[in-house]
Symmetry: C2
Subunit: 407 residues, 2 copies
Amino acid sequence: MCQSGGVVSIGGTASTTAVLRVMNERAVFAEIFKLGKVSRPELAQATGLSKPTISMALTDLERARLVRPVGLRTGSTGRAALLYEIRPQAGWVLAVDVGREFVRLALADLVGDIAARRDEHRKGGETPDELVAWLGGLTRELVDEAGAALGDITLTVFGTPGIHDKETGSLQLAPNLPGWDRPGAIELLAGVAADAPYVVENDVDLAAVGEGAYGLGQGVDHFALVWIGTGIGMGVVIDGKLYRGAQGAAGEISYLPVGEGDPLVNRGRGMLESVASADGVVALATRLGMKGVTSAKDVFDAARAADPVACRVVATEADHIAHALAGVIAVLDPQLVVLGGGIGVQAGDLLIGPVTDCLRDLVALRVPMIKASTLGTEAVLLGAMAVGLTTARDLVFERAVAQVPPD
Amino acid sequence: MCQSGGVVSIGGTASTTAVLRVMNERAVFAEIFKLGKVSRPELAQATGLSKPTISMALTDLERARLVRPVGLRTGSTGRAALLYEIRPQAGWVLAVDVGREFVRLALADLVGDIAARRDEHRKGGETPDELVAWLGGLTRELVDEAGAALGDITLTVFGTPGIHDKETGSLQLAPNLPGWDRPGAIELLAGVAADAPYVVENDVDLAAVGEGAYGLGQGVDHFALVWIGTGIGMGVVIDGKLYRGAQGAAGEISYLPVGEGDPLVNRGRGMLESVASADGVVALATRLGMKGVTSAKDVFDAARAADPVACRVVATEADHIAHALAGVIAVLDPQLVVLGGGIGVQAGDLLIGPVTDCLRDLVALRVPMIKASTLGTEAVLLGAMAVGLTTARDLVFERAVAQVPPD
DNA sequence: CCCATTTGGCAAGGTCTCTTACAAAGTTCC
DNA sequence: GGAACTTTGTAAGAGACCTTGCCAAATGGG
């Protein structure tokens, strides 16, 4: 609606016939991704281009080693059609989830199939250099296992807690990753995968992307993933795209002024986080007199067994979450809110009902759907893959078209 | 990042040479908007196209009556260049701000110059039919004044309170516009400007667009306009575009759970709204013992004269606003927050300092800039104009290119 | 008054895509 | 098993677009 430079302006990029060809090849490439194994006539149908043009594009794409023929489709009447598909080895994406207790890595080919993966327990407290060396070793194992080479990796996507400050190249608000708040620390990550391009993204943001690509957010334009576990965060998807905010801090709802308590008391932790996170649940249960509670799961199990105190804790938790969501919904008006993270996944069945009920009193219009994530602990890794795949597909095409135009 | 149908996909639209021409003409058209009076060589430079192509595009655009020559640029060495500009009469935009006490109308030509406008006092309580008839009459006056015809209006943009529910064609949450909550009522607005296309947008959303096009939001990608007056609302601009939300209710922050008070007590009004709006300020001042206070302005004037009670009211108001903004900032992480509406404009000088200070204790990272709107009561009308102009420019081009391709 | 400089127009050439036509390779039916 | 039919793939010709290169026109300065 508005543009820099004062007033509004319509878009439009000038082009010549040469870029027309690139555009069409890109369209064919994208269509093959969408349709899988596909014949020339089907591509002509899908893109609106003529058969000869499709043939031209395919020979170019095949010479660039982006697609390959995979046999004939026979059975129906008429001549058998030669089928084409994306060449999976045309690109590799390394997805890395650097969590509090685990690191998870997945190496996926360009069509998104995971060729190799690892889940490793963290000792905790590793220095940045140690962590990078460790991840680098795991990456080499994965690459070997997949039958690829380290240099084949098109793009690496790291999911980490905290906020990636691009100006200083450091990680803010990530107490579980000591040493990464040093200016320039992020650049160390280039060493994990042989200086391939890499992206660092907030873990909860990636979980939201994962939810949009593989989970409940599929086909939903605007939704939010609220992550409730040891910490609290939110990933926002708007118009099908991850929204990061001006500083990359969109969705940092741990600081929402919710629940009783002086804001100044809980400085540095965030008000919502201190009352609604896993620790908050345990603390409240203990305060109300439950014995032997060490984890939030204990409380939820007790609530499922109809323990009256545990039920009160769950009700309070639902109330806190609902009040936080009321703010989110008022600002964003999403179509869907997904609850993820340890508490969201484990206790989704207990919470969704009371949260939704409570929201009816707090929200002006219709309450959006509230659902519990189905991706579990995979959400961040899948989100990293999804981000990596979209970017890698562009990168691979760009590179191929830039290098192979002659002849 | 994610698409319906399962997984991510790169874009790309297939095209033929014919659409190439349209693309280039659109690019030239857009460039003339950006540069104003401009010569052929300048357009060639700006678009990257060659001189003959520019000439071709210009003859087409001139034949479509979208641009016109405006004389020669002489003075420098070399042959004088023939300058072209947008033909202002190629399109007209009618902007209408239907407020609580006033209606404001502006008729702008395609380059955005206001050719005629009206500010009229509302009697209040008009039926939809009466309102439409009144607006229709005013529109005819404007059109006459501008030397245009009613059929020349390319697009009408209405700014109203409430939420335009497109499914039922009615207006929700707009108590000041009785009768417009009836299903299909919105369609009556087509009668204002002879069945020209029209758009109905929330007034605060339009104010945000106006701020982005003509005010403090120029060149800012992500910002929010918080409107504080008789009611409270917010317009959200993300990636330079207005964000409406799934139901068109994004930014309905009047229901934020802020301030003391039972949520159930203030149902239907919104908690934030009841404490922070103009009425809330007056109520608080009276409760604290101020005499003869009838409007929020009285309180702010007294505060400027260092009245201690008024100062306390202002401090409380700042505190409420800051708490609301804390939620907005946590969710959206905007680069800038603009305070608009009666209170935002009148008392911006008093509020911005304390609000910013208070936010430092409530926000995780850097506090975004907080500024008071400079557009005053014009914001909604200017936003309607901005929305209308972008859309009208596309419409006019589309129409011209669709009609004049032969020869 | 002549020259350097810039602008505008025209013709030729190259690239892209589409349409049309035809050859190639299956299936169906007798 | 073979003929007819249907679908696929390729080749040639034509149309549309943009660009390069060249020349005429117009303006200011010396």
